[in-house]
C-alpha cells in the first residue's frame, strides 16, 4: 500500500485536508501515549499530555520546516510539554500506583523469553529515576533517537545528554540489583 510521507500529510493538512491530519495523528498518537505513560507514570497524565501535544502540534503545524525529521520535531514538543507537566505535578503524587503498560493476558514470545517479572521490575525502577534522566532513557531506548537528536530536542549539549544517560544507567543498575535481591528474598 502506498504510504504518504509525513511532509506530504502536513502540506495537505495545511491546505485544509482533515483526512491528512487524522492520518498524521493516527501515525504518532500510540507512540506518544505510551511515551506519556512511561514518563508520567499514569494514564490520566498520559492522556493530558497526548491532548496537549496534539493541540500544540495542530497550532504549530505550519512551523515545521523540515530541518529535522517530523518525529524529532514532534518529540521536541512532547519533551517540553512533559517536563512542564512533571514540574507542575504535586510532589506527593505516588507514581507506584500507576497501572502496568503491559497486558498480562497477551504475552508475546519475546515477553515470555525475557520474563514478565523482569519487565515489571524494569518498568517500576524506571519510574524512580529523576525526570530528566528518565526522559533521556526514554528517548534513547524507546524512541531510538541518537544522542545528538536528543540534544537538539532538549536544547542542551550532547555531553549533558550523555552525562544524564550514564547517570541513569548507573542508578538503574543499582536499583535493579536491589530489586532482584528483594525478589529472591520473597521467594
Amino acid at each position: 500500500m502506498f504510504k504518504r510521507s509525513d511532509e506530504s500529510l502536513i502540506n495537505k493538512a495545511l491546505d485544509g485536508d482533515e483526512r491528512a491530519w487524522q492520518q498524521l495523528v493516527s501515525r504518532y498518537q500510540t507512540m506518544l501515549y505510551h511515551y506519556g505513560l512511561r514518563l508520567m507514570g499514569n494514564p490520566d497524565d498520559a492522556r493530558d499530555l497526548l491532548q496537549d501535544v496534539l493541540m500544540v502540534l495542530c497550532r504549530n503545524l505550519a512551523q515545521f520546516r523540515g530541518d529535522s525529521s517530523f518525529k524529532t520535531w514532534l518529540f521536541g514538543i512532547a519533551n517540553y510539554r512533559a517536563m512542564d507537566m512533571l514540574r507542575k505535578r504535586k510532589p506527593t503524587q505516588d507514581i507506584d500506583d500507576s497501572p502496568d503498560l503491559f497486558n498480562d493476558d497477551e504475552p508475546t514470545a519475546e515477553a515470555r523469553l525475557y520474563g514478565q517479572q523482569t519487565q515489571k521490575i524494569v518498568q517500576q525502577q524506571l519510574k524512580h529515576l529523576p525526570a530528566d534522566q528518565r526522559l533521556v532513557v526514554e528517548l534513547r531506548f524507546y524512541q531510538q533517537f541518537t544522542f545528538d537528536e536528543i540534544a537538539d530536542q532538549l536544547a542542551i549539549s550532547s555531553n549533558t545528554v550523555k552525562s544524564r544517560f550514564y547517570a541513569a544507567l548507573d542508578k538503574l543498575r543499582t536499583q535493579l540489583e536491589v530489586a532482584h535481591v528483594e525478589q529472591s528474598a520473597n521467594f
Binding site: A13, E18, Q22, H34, F102, E110
Partner: protein, 217 residues
C-alpha cells in the same frame, strides 16, 4: 584505539555486535555494568505495549484551528478521472476515434450490428475454408501413408514366401537324396548279391541267351 565509552557508544549505534562489545568491556566493571543494564532496557523497549490509546477529538481540534479554510485540492486527480471517464465512454459507445492520413477523426459508427454480422460471416467462411483445406491435406497424408504401408506389407510377404519356398525345395532335395540313398542301400543289400550269383551261374552255361527265356517263364 577506542576507549570504553567509545566502544559502548559504538555498540549502542549498532556499529559493534553485542558479543564484541561484551568481550571488550568485560575487564571494566563500571562499563560492563552499564552495558548489561542497557541490554535489559533494550529488551524492555522491544516488548510491545498494549495499553489502549484514549479517544481524543482531534477533528474538533483541527476544525477549530484550520476549519475556516476551504480545502485546496490538486487539479490533476480531477483531470485524470475526467480523461478516464471519456476513454470509457468512447470505448463503449459507437463513437470511433481514428487517426487517418495524419488527421484525428471522431466518427459515429452506424449499422454496427450489420457490420458485425458481415464480419462474422466472413470470418466463418474463412474458418470453413481453412478447415476444408486441413481435412483435404489430412486425407492425402493418410492415403499416402496407407500406400506406403501396403508396399511394405507386400515386400514382407513376398520375402517370407520366397524363404518358405526355398526351405521347401531344400527339404525336397534332402528327401530325394535320402530316397536315393535308401534305394542304393537296398540294391547293395538285396539286388547286387542276387545278380552276382546269377552272373556266377551263367558263366557255366554255353549260351546265356538260350537259358534266359526259360527262366523268364
Amino acid at each position: 584505539m577506542l576507549n570504553n565509552q567509545q566502544i559502548f557508544e559504538a555498540w549502542l549505534a549498532g556499529k559493534l555486535t553485542t558479543a564484541e562489545c561484551e568481550q571488550q568491556l568485560q575487564s571494566d566493571s563500571e562499563w560492563y555494568g552499564r552495558f548489561l543494564t542497557a541490554q535489559q532496557l533494550q529488551r524492555h523497549a522491544k516488548v510491545p505495549a498494549y495499553a489502549p490509546v484514549p479517544d481524543i477529538d482531534t477533528s474538533q481540534m483541527f476544525r477549530q484551528q484550520w476549519g475556516g479554510r476551504p480545502a485546496k485540492t490538486a487539479w490533476w486527480p480531477r483531470l485524470s478521472v475526467g480523461m478516464s471517464a471519456m476513454a470509457l465512454i468512447i470505448s463503449i459507445s459507437p463513437l470511433q476515434l481514428q487517426l487517418q492520413d495524419g488527421a484525428l477523426a471522431l466518427s459515429w459508427k452506424e449499422n454496427n450490428s450489420l457490420q458485425q454480422q458481415q464480419e462474422m460471416t466472413t470470418m466463418l467462411a474463412s474458418f470453413q475454408q481453412e478447415q476444408q483445406q486441413y481435412l483435404q491435406q489430412q486425407l492425402q497424408n493418410q492415403q499416402h501413408q496407407q500406400a506406403t504401408q501396403l508396399v511394405l506389407l507386400k515386400d514382407y510377404l513376398t520375402e517370407n514366401e520366397q524363404k518358405a519356398r526355398s526351405s521347401d525345395m531344400i527339404e525336397l532335395v534332402e528327401y530325394l537324396n535320402q530316397q536315393r540313398q535308401a534305394d542304393w542301400q537296398y540294391w547293395q543289400d538285396n539286388v547286387q548279391p542276387t545278380q552276382a550269383r546269377q552272373d556266377y551261374g551263367s558263366s557255366y552255361l554255353p549260351n546265356r541267351t538260350q537259358i534266359d527265356p526259360k527262366r523268364s517263364n
